[in-house]
Symmetry: C2
Subunit: 136 residues, 2 copies
């Protein structure tokens, strides 16, 4: 794990999304299917208009007891946290830690080009571990 | 981050728990309050009888549309994944990666003595980052 490497090396380029009018049930199904903790919310023009994490679902649907037919739009986070694609892994970890979040969107030229989550560190650590074992 | 260090260095010793008869709403409130993704489920004799993650809540409560008054016992994971406290961080990351899980219980002398989650890596990376900056 190289804290000085650009986040582009570690981010996932494939953004998995839902529409604002999709139900939270549908969003949960997609999270479960792809084993991910967050989704981008994309409107019909392809703009990222929100972000939805498992934590959002717990806080804004499960705790208040809303039905799973609630549209994603009603519980998504509209304030998007982004970092530029040129930021280093260390800088991004610092942003996550300071903001108390586990996922961040990566922006380049005004567009969202990827997502990085703490879980991606696991993959990076594992690769390092395998390399370490291979060179022992 | 030292992949050869024992997991004891990185685990959290404070286990945050709920009772099997607590509601999922209560479990969600505790997760939100402490900003954690999992809880241990502890019976009246102090035995860890289950484990509950945000993912369990999404999969087994939100998707099927159960009410938030459902007892934790009905949706918790009963198959506990544990690693010995002498396991190295690298070994633990490997277990998490292979099993596709993000949290694991740490066992010592037949007792659960801690918990490690991928998020704890963030704290470890941050400490390393701060050390790196301090020594630059």
């Amino acid at each position: 794990m190289d804290l000085k490497a650009p986040i582009k090396v570690y981010m996932k380029k494939k953004l998995i999304g839902v529409k604002p009018e999709d139900t939270v049930k549908r969003a949960g199904e997609i999270m479960a299917e792809f084993d991910i903790g967050s989704l981008v919310v994309v409107d019909d023009e392809g703009n990222v208009v929100g972000f939805l994490t498992k934590g959002d679902i717990i806080k804004r649907l499960v705790i208040p007891g809303l039905p799973n037919t609630t549209p994603v739009r009603e519980i998504m986070t509209k304030d998007l946290v982004t970092v530029p694609s040129t930021a280093t892994l260390g800088e991004v970890l610092d942003v996550l830690s300071k903001k108390g979040i586990k996922h961040v969107l990566i922006e380049e030229g005004g567009k969202i080009v990827g997502i990085f989550s703490i879980s991606d560190l696991l993959e990076a650590s594992r690769r390092k571990l395998e390399t370490a074992i291979a060179t022992e």
